[in-house]
Symmetry: C2
Subunit: 374 residues, 2 copies
């Protein structure tokens, strides 16, 4: 399928074909500026996670505001960014399989590319891939600091793995990956604080034990939109990997500050624009987008600026809205903005961003790494 | 991103790069044959739903076994199929918006294309689009037979809308769309029977009232994998719109027959192949695919032929498996097949089908309408 864009620069918002992935450029740029300001002077760098935006264009705008590079989860995402001009990438995950390792090694000839391991077998395979291409691959040890997914245990097991990297001929030990994804979505500030305090202690201990063996962590990476201020305050992390802050979704917007109010540091910049296609029953409007176009893994989307209208279900190609027909009406063809429950997988279902300013399309640019799962 | 296929014909299953969308060709062809056999002699035709497979190749294999054409939900899906050689398509949904209607009208010059309406405003817009192109658009009235989503009320409201179509100059009244999607997923046979009996009664009554006004239903469309035998038995539906039967997912596999046993008419032909990337903790294996590659809207995937291994979570790019480390072990690089909870959105996240026979890749073909939401 040729990916025809849903709009052209100059179009009014009402003229955009739907479903479309809409970016409010004013709010988006304000989010980038806010994050740059929050990190200034902390000593930590920003390495935003491109699994959120999958776009070399977004990456460049982040780097222009001081980000040191990008994180990705997949070699395919790294390729899309390198081809789009990004010079410094960390694959914040294990890369397994000979074909992927050949691609990873090849990329190191075009850009600075690092990767994570949590097992000696991965170190061995990386070493082979680097040797075959006569290159050197910067390698981080991923430690499990509470996520319960990938990552070797902090402390001595992590140190032993780092020593294997340091002793290999074609790999360089670059530091630690210490990401506590579950903590991002704890709603209460004190819960997030406690989770990150524990992760920080495990990470600090491992950094110290590495130092005792003469192993320096150039990178201690982790953190996300929900907790990066905790990671910053600890002074342990050198690189913050937040991704969703640029767009903000309905899920992160539920996080509360110490006073019990929504955190509100970043604004909603990303929407899915949809059209009302059916109003056959009173109090029910049906939209032309379902979970093939807006992710529901972290809850149903919200209808932007209509708190009285509830999305009650998303099937493959339809979202069903319920409302009080005495208080409001919808017409066939009317366009509505949805705030996705979860940005990352929502972006991955679209081929194009439609950038809006002042109610008009200012720019249209591709989701370069759409579907880059390998 | 150039969509590089994850395998080439001749590759062994173990050599396929992951995540990949795997089609077991023997089971797939048996499913197509079974459905053709079940419909033979019933008087009803099969018009499989392409929102499941999004592939002109799959459509042609279905048509070669007697299917009259294809259903789609979106104009973009219709375009992908027409460009791939499918001659008869029903858009089983409302198409709203001038740009989409121009595309729909244009397609009628290349193939037989029909569409559904549930409101007079849609009829008016369709008439304008058809007139502008000097074409004629076959139009069905969608009635709500229990789904509670799109569809005008059966009986007199539907008849009045059909008369508007019949009186327009550029539209042809083609019949009724009567789809009860909710009934598909009722687990017990008697629940499905009761829901379809009610839908059949409402549809029969509407067909009769239309006939009294001289309006003939060339098509009465609906049904799906979960209930098509009920729709067939009623004698009302002339076209069966099952889609998932070709692939089967974990969700439909939970439907029970009258004796309380899994229905089992169709076999699992569609899988997501994944690689173990981390075994850092005992009893836990992490795969290189998450909900960006396997849909979780109808539950987590199953691990094929390993009932003792449970998928306990899918994040963006990881699936986490739990197992008894005393009974089983996994190695980094090991490949596993997942049975998706829901086929349709899983297919939509991939660019390629990898068709397997006898443990080897026989063919690789594209998901032509991947992401065709507009």
């Amino acid at each position: 399928m040729p990916p025809t864009p849903p709009a052209l620069p100059g179009d009014a918002e009402e003229a955009i074909d739907t479903p479309a992935l809409l970016l409010d450029l004013d709010v988006f740029e304000a989010n980038l500026d806010t994050m740059a300001r929050l990190l200034a002077g902390t000593g930590a760098k920003l390495r935003p996670h491109a699994k959120t935006h999958k776009s070399a264009t977004v990456a460049r705008l982040q780097i222009a505001r001081g980000a040191v590079g990008q994180c990705v989860q997949k070699v395919g995402e790294a390729e899309a960014l390198v081809w789009g001009g990004v010079a410094d990438i960390l694959v914040s995950n294990q890369v397994v399989g000979a074909a992927k390792l050949r691609r990873l090694a090849g990329l190191t000839k075009l850009a600075s590319v690092a990767v994570c391991v949590d097992d000696a077998e991965q170190v061995w395979a990386l070493e082979q891939a680097a040797e075959a291409l006569g290159t050197r691959i910067e390698t981080l040890v991923e430690i499990d600091v509470g996520m319960g997914r990938c990552g070797i245990a902090p402390g001595p097991p992590a140190v032993a793995l780092a020593e294997r990297i340091a002793h290999s001929r074609h790999l360089g030990f670059a530091g630690l990956q210490a990401y506590h994804g579950l903590a991002q979505h704890l709603r209460r500030a004190e819960e997030r604080h406690a989770a990150i305090a524990q992760a920080a202690e495990a990470t600090r201990r491992t950094v110290e034990q590495l130092a005792q063996r003469g192993l320096h962590c150039r990178i201690v990476g982790g953190a996300g939109t929900g907790t990066f201020e905790e990671e910053l305050a600890s002074g342990i992390w050198t690189e913050i990997q937040a991704g969703s802050y640029a767009f903000m979704d309905a899920d992160y917007a539920q996080n509360l500050d110490a006073a019990g109010r929504p955190v509100g540091t970043f604004g909603h910049a990303l929407f899915v624009l949809a059209t009302v296609i059916s109003v056959a029953r009173p109090g029910v409007a049906v939209l032309d987008v379902g979970h093939k176009g807006v992710a529901v893994d972290r809850g149903l989307p919200l209808v932007w600026q209509m708190p009285d209208v509830r999305c009650v279900g998303c099937s493959d190609e339809h979202a069903t809205l319920h409302y009080d027909p005495g208080a409001r009406s919808f017409g066939i063809g009317q366009k509505l903005r949805l705030v996705p429950g979860h940005c990352d997988p929502t972006v991955d279902r679209h081929d194009w961003y439609v950038g809006l300013r002042g109610g008009r399309v200012e720019t249209v640019f591709p989701v370069d790494a759409r579907g880059a799962m390998r």
